[in-house]
Every structure is written in structure tokens, then in C-alpha cells.
């Protein structure tokens, strides 16, 4: 495969070969492998052969499996380290605090699974039964599945290219004995690549309620998050709303607020206005959230009544664009997420 496989617009002096490629008709399209955009694509011959046109039979298997799952929610962000897993874990805890609901978290971050640590399940293993892989339970009504449970040691690296990651995700969706669930929360890695495409495709038969998008306030993060929103639009995945995390830091000593990650372009609020998306809430940087994650404890269970949280309470500071509420705002965000979900039904 030579470098010449990408067409280059020589006459313009500017190189824009990938713009054309973004018009990829998709491997299941009638034009797969034959449209102008396919010219020079490494996958052209595979697409043109018609092999990918048949939908993966696993999609039907997953649809049947997921028939017992009422709501499926993805947690997405183009950017890494913005708090996807923290939000997923806390959302799951909040949902599971209603003992009548059955909740599960599926961690499809194959190369960097954080959910086991954040939910206090490091070193746990997955068992196999007649009805499939048994997930690990945090509470009676809160199940978790992650590639982290399949590794022998915390140092083990999953050095896999796309197809193997996709195979693992397929197995997670099809072969795990999820049972009857009210909510399945899918935590994803950063980016818009194999894992994201696979989850959306494999769940295309079963249907996804929507995605919650997590960002931090600065433009360096928002520029990636806008790409993720574009991804959702491309694959027709509804967006439940956006959560802005790490939104301002209140010094525990002097109570002054600092914008560690400054919202120089208006933060999530401006982005949501521009793109007509609901802003579900803004969660401040709170050292206790990170600490609880490291210890695998639920922030919502640990902190609400603590005296320390009093100092943060009701600090409603209207800065330029950024409104900082309390750390319990996380709970509020989650409740808003849920009411948004219920509205959709």
C-alpha cells in the first residue's frame, strides 16, 4: 500500500484529499466501493466485493438479547480525561439507589478500562455460566462488565487493533448474562473510531435511547467534543444533552473561584446554544470526586452529608458564561439527564 493511495489535489496548491474521503458512502451502501470517494481507499476492494453489505448476524442476536433492557444510554466525549467514566459510575449509582431498578454499566474502553477501579471492583473476575458471562455486581441491582475483569494483572496492556476490540464489544453485548435491566449505561473511550462505530452498529437493531456528551470548559476540549457531536449526527444517535465537568475550582481555604480550564470560547454553554443542545449541568472540579474515584467509592453516597460539602453549597457564581453550582450538582445533572430521558418516552 503505497502513499499514493490517497488522491492529492495538486492543482490547488492546497492539499485536501481527506475531505473527499469524509463522503464515504458506508460499507453497507449500494455504492460501497464504487463511489468517487472510494477511489484509493484501502478498504475499497473489500467494500466493492459486497462482503460487508450483509448486516452482521450478531446485530439480530444482540437485538434479542437486549429485548430485556429498557434503556440504553451511551456516555461519550471526543476528548479523553474529561470524566466520562466518573459520570458513568455516578449515574449508575444514582439510578441504582432506587432499589426497584436494575442497572448495569458496560465499559467499552478496551485499552484504558477505568470503571473497575472507579467502582471499587479491581481484581474481580468474570464467571461463566450456562447463560453466558456473569457480570460483576457492586450492589444487588448494579452490574458491571469491563475488559479490566478479564486481565490477569493491572499492568496487563490490551494491545489490540480495531477488529479485536470490535469482537470484544460484540461479545460484551451478546454473551453477557445481563438479565432484565432498566438501564444499561455504556462508557466509551475518547475518539470517534472503532469502539464507537461498533457499539452503535451492534445496537442498531436494539436501539439506543441516546448519548450524554461530557466535556470540560476549554476550547481545546470543546473542539474535540464538537467532532463527537458531528459523529452522533452522522450515525443518527440522539443526544440527550451535554455535561460540563471540571467547571471552575473553589479553593477550600479562601473560597475564591479559579477557572483552571478557562472557558475561553464560552464553554459548554455557548456550544450548546450554538448547536441547540440541552446543557444538563456544570460540575465543578472537586478534589473529593477524584479521591472517591481512586478509592472506588461512590461520590454521591460518600459526600452529600459531609460537613466539607457545606462550604461548597449554593455558591452560585455568575461569571462570564459559567455558572458554578454545588458539587451535589452532579446529582442534579444526573436527575436532569433522567428526566430528559423520561421526556423522550
Amino acid at each position: 500500500m503505497g502513499p499514493a493511495s490517497f488522491p492529492v489535489l495538486r492543482y490547488s496548491g492546497f492539499m485536501t484529499p481527506f475531505v473527499a474521503r469524509l463522503d464515504c458512502p458506508g460499507s453497507t451502501s449500494e455504492k460501497a466501493g464504487t463511489s468517487a470517494a472510494c477511489e484509493g481507499c484501502p478498504n475499497q476492494s473489500v467494500c466493492a466485493s459486497g462482503a460487508p453489505k450483509a448486516p452482521d448476524p450478531a446485530i439480530e442476536g444482540i437485538r434479542l438479547k437486549m429485548a430485556s433492557v429498557k434503556h440504553k444510554i451511551l456516555v461519550l466525549s471526543g476528548k479523553g480525561g474529561v470524566g466520562k467514566s466518573t459520570f458513568s459510575a455516578n449515574l449508575a449509582h444514582a439510578l441504582a439507589s432506587d432499589g426497584t431498578k436494575e442497572v448495569a454499566v458496560l465499559d467499552v474502553d478496551i485499552c484504558g478500562p477505568s470503571i473497575p477501579k472507579i467502582m471499587g471492583l479491581e481484581g474481580e473476575q468474570v464467571h461463566q455460566s450456562g447463560s453466558g458471562w456473569s457480570p460483576v455486581y457492586v450492589e444487588d441491582n448494579l452490574a458491571v462488565m469491563s475488559v479490566g475483569f478479564l486481565l490477569g494483572s493491572p499492568d496487563d496492556a490490551v494491545i489490540w487493533r480495531g477488529p479485536k476490540k470490535n469482537g470484544m464489544i460484540k461479545q460484551f453485548l451478546r454473551d453477557v448474562d445481563w438479565g432484565e435491566l432498566d438501564y444499561l449505561i455504556v462508557d466509551t473511550p475518547p475518539g470517534t473510531s472503532d469502539e464507537h462505530l461498533s457499539v452503535v452498529q451492534y445496537l442498531s437493531g436494539a436501539g439506543i435511547d441516546g448519548a450524554v456528551i461530557i466535556t470540560t470548559p476549554q476550547e481545546v476540549s470543546l473542539q474535540d467534543v464538537r467532532k463527537e457531536i458531528r459523529f452522533c449526527q452522522k450515525v443518527k444517535l440522539p443526544i440527550i444533552g451535554v455535561v460540563e465537568n471540571m467547571s471552575g475550582f473553589v479553593c477550600p481555604k479562601c473560597k475564591n473561584t479559579s477557572q483552571i480550564f478557562p472557558p475561553t470560547t464560552g464553554g459548554a454553554q455557548r456550544m450548546c446554544e450554538d448547536l441547540s443542545l440541552p446543557l444538563l449541568g456544570q460540575v465543578p472540579l472537586d478534589p473529593r470526586i477524584g479521591r472517591n474515584c481512586d478509592q472506588g467509592k461512590s461520590f454521591l453516597n460518600e459526600v452529600p452529608e459531609s460537613p466539607a460539602s457545606m462550604t461548597y453549597r449554593t455558591i452560585i457564581q455568575t461569571q462570564k458564561y459559567c455558572i458554578i453550582i454545588t458539587p451535589e450538582v452532579l446529582l442534579l445533572c444526573i436527575q436532569t439527564t433522567l428526566s430528559g430521558l423520561h421526556l423522550r418516552h
Binding site: P3, F6, G80, G162, L197, C254, S258, G290
Partner: protein
């Protein structure tokens, strides 16, 4: 000595350093940017290759957003910062017409583009080529090693934040380096403590010391801790040269020390 087997356009590149982390959002691109600027200020010719295809951050951080890549007979001309032509950058961000456009690509296409970046970019003479990678241990990382050739890579700088959730992912990246035979040049702890600009109280928002501990645990060189500094994040947003703008700050000293240790490691 291996010059003959090198891809033509990398012939005059002396050192290649990967900047990696298992974890996202820990500051790989920020550290890459600051290392590039520090090396440039030290009189070196520096190239930066951004192989984070789904989330390219470097163009904005170096104040080079909205630039284009030109084609010449020898290949693709990288974008230069300033007129001195001592800091060159190549990123997929330069190839998108609309900056919000998503690159929704599976592995093989990402691998193919990285191959082109390695073989087709006319880097010219460089002292150091820094390669900024996305989080994880997957297609992009394998592609970089495969296309550059393992012998061509001097080693990797690993970036982490102090908390266990992050060092856990970096431990996996260390395993990746060991398995693929990439030398670990050192570990940087980023976002290490925040000094309140109002009262000077230092709060460890993401805990403290995790990077140094990890370096000890794995027998790696600890390159230093870089504090959480709103001036640094603001500089990244605006594409301003932080090292030039704030030479009196503690963050400057920390970044400078990381760069010097790295240079020393490369030259010995």
C-alpha cells in the same frame, strides 16, 4: 548507520521521541507543545507529528489553527511556526476543511494516514521529532512503530496525572513499551497540585505524587512534576508561547527541567 533503510524524508531527523499515555486528557499534547517550544528556544530544530487523528489538539496549542499543508515535489510540506522555520508541525487538523468535522475512521484507514505522515512529510533537517499520540494502546500506536521502524524511535516520554485512575492506565502503556521494545525515556507528572492565585494555598485536585511513585515502581526516570496552572491552560487555548510569556513562573521552571533532562537523555 541505519540511514540507508530509513524512509527518505526522515533521513535527516536525528532523534524521534514519542509522547504517550494510556490515559486521555492528562496533557500529552500540552507537554508535547511545551517540549517543542523549549527545545526550539534551546536552539534545536524541532518537528511535531500529531497522530491523534480523532482529536488533533496541537494546531490550536501552537497557534497554528486554520493553516494548510502544501504539496511540493518531495512530498507534503509541514506547517512552520513563525518565520525561522525551526518548528514544523504536521497534523490531520490541517487537512480538514471544517474544523468540527469528525474523522470517523476505523483502524486500517488511520494506519494508512499515519503511514503517509511518516513517508510523505518533508521534515528536512531536524534535531528532534516529537510524536504526539492519542490515548490507548491500539492502532495509532502500533502504526507509528510499524511505519517509523522501531530502530528509528529513541524512546517514549510518558505523561500521567497523579491520581490512581490515571497511573493505572499508564502502567498499561509501560507494558506496551516493554512488549514493543520502546525505551521509556521518563515519566512526567502533569496537573500536580494547584496553587490558588488568591491565597497561595496548594490543593492537590488530582492527588499528588502518583507519577513519581510510578517511576520508582517501574524503574523509570522521573522527569518532573508540572503543576495545574490556569496560565498554562489559557496559553494552550490561545496558542501562545507559555515559556516566552511566563519565564518567572514555577511551571516554567518545571517544564524547562523536563526538557533539559530529556535532551540530556537523548544526547547520551
Amino acid at each position: 548507520m541505519e540511514v540507508a533503510s530509513d524512509p527518505g524524508n526522515l533521513r535527516n531527523v536525528r532523534h524521534v521521541v514519542l509522547v504517550m499515555s494510556g490515559k486521555g486528557g492528562v496533557g500529552k499534547s500540552t507537554i508535547t507543545t511545551e517540549l517543542a517550544l523549549a527545545l526550539q528556544h534551546a536552539g534545536k530544530k524541532v518537528g511535531v507529528l500529531d497522530v491523534d487523528l480523532c482529536g488533533p489538539s496541537i494546531p490550536r496549542m501552537l497557534g497554528m489553527a486554520n493553516q494548510h499543508v502544501h504539496q511540493c515535489d518531495a512530498g507534503w510540506v509541514p506547517v512552520y511556526a513563525g518565520s525561522q522555520q525551526t518548528l514544523a508541525l504536521m497534523s490531520v487538523g490541517f487537512l480538514l476543511e471544517d474544523p468540527d468535522e469528525a474523522i470517523v475512521w476505523r483502524g486500517p484507514r488511520k494506519t494508512a494516514l499515519i503511514g503517509q505522515f511518516v513517508s510523505d512529510v518533508v521534515w528536512g533537517e531536524l534535531d528532534v521529532l516529537l510524536v504526539d499520540t492519542p490515548p490507548g494502546t491500539s492502532d495509532e500506536h502500533l502504526a507509528v512503530l510499524e511505519k517509523l521502524g522501531k530502530h528509528r524511535v529513541d524512546g517514549a516520554v510518558l505523561v500521567t496525572t497523579p491520581q490512581a485512575v490515571s497511573t493505572g492506565d499508564v502502567r498499561r502503556e509501560i507494558t506496551f513499551c516493554k512488549k514493543t521494545g520502546v525505551k521509556i525515556l521518563g515519566i512526567v507528572e502533569n496537573m500536580s497540585g494547584f496553587v490558588c492565585p488568591h491565597c497561595s494555598e496548594c490543593t492537590s485536585i488530582f492527588s499528588k505524587g502518583g507519577g513519581e511513585e510510578l517511576a520508582k515502581l517501574t524503574g523509570s526516570v522521573f522527569l518532573g512534576s508540572v503543576p495545574l496552572d490556569p496560565l498554562l491552560s489559557a496559553s494552550m487555548e490561545e496558542g501562545r508561547d507559555f515559556l516566552q510569556a511566563f519565564p518567572e513562573s514555577a511551571t516554567y521552571t518545571a517544564l524547562q527541567a523536563v526538557a533539559e533532562t530529556l535532551l540530556h537523555a537523548l544526547d547520551h
